[in-house]
Amino acid sequence: MSDTVKDTVKSSRGRASGGAPAPDGPSERPGATAVLRNTTLQQPRLPRWAPAALVGGSLGAGILIGVLGNLDSRIQWGLIAALIYLTATFAVTTAVEGRRQAVDRFAASLVWTSFVVAILPLASLLWETIARGIPGVSWYFLTHSMNGVLSWQEGGGIYHALLGTVQQVLLASVIAIPIGLLTAVYLVEYGRGRLAKAITFFVDVMTGIPSIVAGLFVLSMWIMMLGFGYSGFAGALALSILMMPIVVRSTEEMLKLVPGELREASLALGVPKWRTILKVVLPTAIGGITTGVMLALARIAGETAPIILLVFGSNMINANPFEGAQSSLPLFVYEQWAFGTEAAYDRAWAAALVLIAFIMILNLVARGIARWKAPKTGR
């Protein structure tokens, strides 16, 4: 066998030397690359402890300048330290390791710095909410309304707001989920041509609608034009407009992940298309779809703006979302903040904590489902 192989080699080599122009001989090299030749693999490098020392040194310098310069804001200290760190890193590496390495290290330290700069406010946000919120959260707080509690008084609770949020979010999802799911099915399974393109485009546009605009729309149509009053349902209408595009997008993504072979296998067995979609395609993607829907729920549960316009706010428990003003958790936070008294601030933080917890639980469950169902897509 190897003999025949060798023959092929010879013939192909012969062909090559005849055809293509011969490359430059090994001895001659153009000037451009000759400059590049590096005889050694060893490069002068900073010791391993250098980055840590730079971080420590610049932090120290930042604090020192802050204290000596009598700067009252910690933000200034941090900014000075970051600036010193970045310039020092660049200067030191340029001196020791050369320019390319310096740029590399500079980029790395910039990335690290931006990470720290960003994580601090976000950590502070969570910390403040938890630290200031925990004292106010109690069973009483969760099970009573604000009925008869004046803004400067202690006490009161968020039961009415919780009830409102849950009802509005559920109503919104009852409207938005079927429309969103079916639209996604249309786009992935049936949609061709101009209509599908238009829908895809407007779903994108809809994703970008500010929540307050959705609120204004329902206000102008439902309340001003059709003459209905403020109600939880009006709020739910606006929330459903915000929810639909999210559901469509995430469902679409998931349906696209379902392998075409699966559909073909089912169709080849003589199963009608609609049953294929219902029994094969949707169940395969159900994990991802659920995740998308829950993330959408979490998103709208925190919306305040349309609620201000449409649900109006109330201190009392109103269990009927179709009539009369209700409250909701985010709206409650806003109202309490607006009162501006210490007691109201405490309630605002406590309610904010409950709201965050509510949304985080939704998120965690959603991501749990995603992880649980994920391996099938093989990514």
């Binding site: 790395a108 931006s114 909410t129 639209t183 307050i212 729309f217 073909e264 609609w274 703006a305 985010p330």
Partner: protein, 326 residues
């Protein structure tokens, strides 16, 4: 709906044809009709939003005694009503631009950190945390901004005033920092997780083959990122930024809680005053009469158009980018 049937012929063509001649099953017709109907409902809603907002806006604008675009006042409840969006447009654009300038570079930095710099385990957790932060409601950012961030900014602003006060833009009078700048910073913090989250996903999808090609040529980590990750992710970064910009433009609560509004345009970004569309709607709504509401709806329509513009621009950029790369 025979048209839809033939349109979807690739999988349909695999059916064992002889047993069932191409009769349209009622189940198929109902189901495809339903799903098509849902899609059309979406279109109808979008159209309705444009139509209803326009009708109310037309009522308000035709009654307006001031110039809708240039008037610096908002007396929509007076008779005759006298209002204009100049201040709101300025405030909305300025605060969003500040937010973008601050947030986009940092977001790209964090996304790179998570996708290429952080140790693998840390990166996984971080990605998770960023996603969770993206879900924190804006009212909570607002509460935190008003009660925690505003007092923190005073020192920084007097510093800026000291060094850059001469520009006028950074002049500061030591009043509480309820200014467009603070709003911009808060918006930046808010949209950071969203931009990061999208950007990181794109960066992570950079083909390993390209990164290895760069590495094998003797590129440093930064050079690998510059040669492969950034070009690959550019359109993703743009669309993520536009997503963030859309959020910033339409953000209501974080602005309403932090800004101390006034119908004037302040040269200094650090001093209070100004307003944004969304903030103005939320804070004026409860006092607004019938004409007042129509005026607010008119301003909402402008906001709507503004976000449409931003989204459209993003889409165009991405489409052009796609053409170039493929």
């Amino acid at each position: 709906m025979p048209a839809t049937q033939t349109d979807s012929s690739p999988p349909g063509g695999l059916e064992p044809a002889p047993r069932r001649p191409s009769a349209v099953r009622p189940g198929d017709r109902i189901f495809s009709g339903l799903s098509k109907g849902a899609g059309i409902t979406l279109l109808v809603i979008m159209a309705a939003i444009a139509v209803f907002l326009s009708i109310r806006a037309a009522v308000a604008i035709s009654a307006n005694e001031g110039n809708f675009l240039t008037t610096f006042e908002w007396d929509a409840n007076a008779s005759p009503p006298y209002f204009g969006i100049a201040v709101l447009l300025f405030g909305t654009v300025v605060s969003s631009v500040i937010a973008m300038v601050l947030a986009v570079p940092v977001a790209v930095g964090i996304a790179l950190f998570i996708s290429h710099y952080a140790p693998r385990r840390v990166a996984g957790t971080l990605g998770y945390v960023v996603d969770l932060l993206a879900a924190v409601p804006s009212i909570i950012y607002g509460l935190w901004g008003a009660l925690f961030l505003v007092p923190q900014m005073t020192g920084l602003y007097s510093w800026l005033d000291q060094f850059l006060g001469w520009t006028g833009i950074f002049a500061y009078d030591n009043t509480p920092a309820r200014s467009l700048m603070t709003v911009g910073i808060l918006l930046a913090i808010m949209i950071l997780p969203i931009i990061t989250s999208v950007t990181r996903e794109i960066f992570k999808q950079t083909p390993k083959a390209h990164e290895e090609a760069a590495l094998a040529l003797g590129a440093t980590r930064w050079e690998v990122i510059r040669m492969t990750v950034l070009p690959f992710g550019r359109s993703g970064v743009i669309s993520a930024s536009m997503l963030g910009l859309g959020r910033a433009l339409g953000e209501t609560m974080a602005v309403a809680t932090v800004l101390s509004p006034a119908f004037l345009i302040n040269i200094s970004l650090l001093e209070s005053g100004g307003g944004t569309f969304a903030q103005n709607i939320a804070s004026q709504f409860k006092e607004a009469g019938s004409m007042g509401r129509d005026a607010l709806i008119a301003s909402g329509l402008v906001l709507f158009l503004l976000t449409l513009l931003v989204n459209g621009a993003a889409r165009l950029i991405i489409a052009r980018r796609k053409e170039f790369t493929s």
